[in-house]
């Protein structure tokens, strides 16, 4: 016999909200990738403007999460779920902010040309970071610890690409340096998005196992 | 002596007292039944009419009169008691009126029954010109029983939990409806039990009814205004004045029968109380 229907309904709503926010964030990363690939000024502007939607989500999740904790005194899996949902929403909000930063950088890249190898590598980073976010969401939905752990490995690839950008600054000319620096900055933003996905994975592992992961 | 030893002593003493009490009761019952049981169970005795002279008379009219008297007296005193008890328990509550009523009742309860008998003669037999009859006796006995019946009824009503009253009134019932639909039905088993002692008293009462109902009447009374000879008084009269050669048999048999009647009435009253309680709890709901 099910009791506390109201509480479980609210919990389900919170759960759906964070999933919606996550999908929105992945979408934003996709759009940013495309804006970068085409150096599209308008698309970048749209991403910057669309950040409010993400902020609304995180605020809503925060408030509802706090209310549930205060009023329903959840325990065990419910307690960990609510806490993790609130933390994940923070991470997602940071990812969206990073996309805004990337978009601003894209706007300042007008007039530059990016060499195909570089564009390829950047695209690889975008894709991998987005994939990591998706993997994290899957891990959350399926309560799958293995998928959460996988994120660490996926992060290694992103790190590797990021470092290669750094080292390439050694071998470039004066004119190229300016572009390289901007690219490195964007790569850095993407690397941080990947890191957020890894952190989300650790939160999810806490939710599933109850053990703190450092 | 240690506490444990004192405890043992106390236990023994109480056991002994209990056994003594039971023993006395047992002795009385066995004596009476021993002397008269055979007669009491003899159908000729139970259903036969008393003889004016000669032996072999029965006591059917006496039995009938006694039962008739019980019915009448209870019919008179019970409604009054319930009504007064409801007043005292539900409406009057605290205060001097209640205390005054209780004081009067307690005083009344201590009067010897002969006083009631004389009162009954003066009022019902003489002043009302009813002459000797069952009704005069019934009224007298009703007054006699009023103190104890009223007290017990009041107790039964006070035992009904206040939570029932609260629940009823919070549903929008008036005080009177609450009393009628909840309090009295809940108290009824207790009220029925409360009538046991008065009934016993009626069956066994002799002094009060000798002067108001009759003693040597041989016919079966048909209406309340008939004179009659209830059993207890008749036994006393036969013992005192003999009258017939087998008076001793009649007395012993009568006494035994009286005892049996009291037992039967007692068990009937308890059974009725239990049945009512079960019936009321089941109610008239759906299948």
């Amino acid at each position: 016999m099910e009791v506390r229907k109201t509480f479980h309904q609210h919990l389900d709503e919170l759960y759906l909200d964070v999933l919606k926010m996550a999908n929105l964030t992945v979408d934003i990363v996709e759009k940013t990738r495309s804006a970068f690939a085409r150096l599209d000024k308008e698309a970048a502007q749209a991403i910057i403007a669309g950040d409010d939607e993400v902020d609304d989500y995180v605020k809503k999740i925060e408030e509802n999460g706090v209310e549930l904790l205060a009023r329903q005194a959840p325990v065990a899996i419910d307690l960990r779920t609510i806490i993790v949902i609130m933390r994940i929403s923070q991470h997602l909000e940071r990812c969206a902010d990073l996309c805004v930063n990337i978009s601003k950088a894209v706007q300042n890249l007008q007039g530059y040309t990016i060499s195909p190898p570089m564009a390829e590598d950047m695209d690889e980073m975008f894709t991998r970071s987005a994939k990591m976010l998706v993997r994290a969401i899957e891990a959350f939905k399926e309560r799958d610890e293995a998928k959460a752990i996988e994120l660490h490995r996926m992060d290694d690839t992103v790190d590797r690409i990021n470092r290669s950008f750094f080292t390439s600054t050694n071998r470039c000319s004066e004119e190229e340096l300016d572009l390289i620096i901007r690219i490195v900055m964007i790569a850095r933003f993407l690397e941080r998005i990947a890191d957020h996905a890894v952190d989300m994975g650790d939160e999810i592992r806490y939710m599933v196992t109850g053990e703190f992961i450092t | 002596m240690t506490a444990k030893q004192w405890d043992k002593v106390a236990t023994c003493v109480f056991w002994a007292l209990g056994i003594i009490a039971i023993a006395i009761l047992a002795f009385i019952i066995l004596e009476v039944l021993g002397r008269g049981l055979l007669t009491a169970l003899n159908p000729k005795f139970i259903f036969g009419k008393p003889k004016a002279m000669g032996s072999g008379g029965g006591i059917f009219p006496m039995i009938f009169s006694t039962l008739y008297l019980v019915v009448l007296a209870i019919a008179i005193s019970l409604p009054i008691s319930i009504g007064a008890a409801i007043y005292m328990a539900e409406y009057a509550k605290k205060g001097r009126i209640n205390n005054f009523i209780r004081f009067c009742l307690d005083s009344l309860a201590t009067l010897p029954s002969i006083v009631f008998g004389l009162f009954g003669v003066a009022l019902f037999v003489t002043a009302f010109r009813w002459s000797y009859c069952l009704l005069a006796g019934a009224f007298t006995l009703a007054i006699l029983n009023l103190p104890i019946l009223l007290r017990s009824t009041e107790e039964a009503i006070k035992l009904v939990p206040d939570t029932y009253r609260e629940a009823s009134m919070s549903l929008g019932a008036s005080r009177w409806t609450t009393i009628r639909q909840v309090v009295v039905p809940s108290a009824l088993p207790g009220i029925i039990t409360a009538t046991i002692l008065p009934i016993g008293r009626i069956v066994g009462e002799s002094a009060a009814i000798i002067y108001t109902v009759g003693v040597f009447v041989r016919n079966v009374p048909l209406n309340p205004f008939d004179t009659a000879a209830p059993l207890a008084g008749y036994i006393w009269a036969r013992q005192a004045e003999h009258g017939v050669p087998d008076w001793k048999t009649i007395v012993n048999g009568g006494a035994a029968l009286l005892l049996i009647m009291v037992f039967i009435i007692y068990f009937l009253a308890r059974w009725a109380g239990n049945r009512y309680q079960r019936k009321r709890l089941l109610g008239a709901g759906n299948k």
Binding site: M1, V3, R4, K5, T6, F7, V66, E67, A70, R71, Q72, A73 | K93, P161, T163, Y164, E166, A167, S168, M169, S170, L171, G172, A173, S174, T177, Q181, V182, P185, S186, R280, L281, L282, G283, A284, G285, N286, K287
Partner: protein, 272 residues
């Protein structure tokens, strides 16, 4: 102390209507002042909780709402209470009708020593409903609304007192529902029953919110937090003083960020 009111905005920016209003209410038992100068609203079709330490006057206050305190000798009231805008203390006000419109569920379940059917049918019979079909239908719908029908439909003739504590309390709720009240008062309804049964009743209250306005007195703060939309906190400052309203607002606010320090100390368990 002025209480803090928070107006809830419903859809289209309309405020939730007030079903009952308590205005500067004080109540005396003889010479003793039990509660003083209480002002608060009971919003329609919402659950309002009264919390506070023992003896703060919550039960006294809630019993004023259906004038059950009238049954106690020497009770005196100052101030006013209105139901749908009309004062319930107006001379000549029909208290019997008031108690039908404002029903009550008590702390200890108190079904009558009658059958389950007769318990629920008691109220309707009071208003003159006699026909069996009508009574049958009312009994069934009331028991369904109280989430008890399935458990007792085969045993309606059995005594209401043979049920478990939680079932008895739901029977009492059905009994109240049968008179079709507009407001239901709960005076510590779960304090005498087990936790699982308590949960069932809390879920039931959430469902009943659709059609009934409810006020619940509870000494269990978590219950107030879980169940209510609005919460009022009462307190007796010092021994011998009357109970006063310290704070009143949306439950979420009270339990996440109360205005008054005393409220915060109470709900965090620092006293009481």
């Amino acid at each position: 102390m002025r209480a803090v009111n928070t107006q809830e905005q419903g859809a289209e920016g309309m405020t939730v209507e007030k079903k009952m209003e308590i205005q500067n209410l004080s109540m005396y038992y003889g010479g003793f002042k039990a509660i003083e100068d209480i002002t608060l609203e009971v919003p329609a079709r919402r659950i309002t909780a009264l919390i506070g330490p023992s003896g703060c006057g919550k039960s006294t206050l809630v019993r004023c709402l259906n004038r059950m305190n009238d049954l106690i000798d020497g009770v005196r009231v100052e101030g006013d209470i209105t139901l749908d805008g009309e004062s319930i203390f107006r001379p000549g006000y029909d208290t019997i009708d008031l108690r039908r419109r404002v029903g009550m569920v008590f702390q200890r379940p108190n079904p009558f020593p009658k059958s389950i059917y007769e318990n629920v049918a008691y109220g309707p019979k009071l208003v003159g409903i006699k026909k069996k079909e009508e009574l049958d239908s009312i009994v069934e719908s009331s028991l369904k609304k109280a989430a008890l029908w399935n458990e007792v439909k085969a045993n309606l003739r059995e005594s209401g007192q043979n049920l478990s504590g939680g079932q008895q309390q739901r029977l009492c709720i059905a009994r109240v529902i049968a008179v079709q009240p507009e407001v239901i008062l709960f005076d510590e309804p779960c304090s005498a029953i087990d936790p699982v049964a308590t949960q069932l009743i809390e879920d039931l209250m959430a469902e009943l919110k659709e059609n009934y306005t409810m006020v619940i007195v509870t000494h269990n703060m978590q219950q107030a937090a879980r169940v209510s939309d609005y919460t009022a906190f009462l307190l007796v400052q010092e021994q011998g003083e009357p109970g006063r309203l310290i704070e009143y607002g949306e439950t979420n606010t009270i339990f996440t960020n109360p205005v008054d320090e005393r409220t915060e100390r109470y709900i965090t368990g620092r006293f009481g």
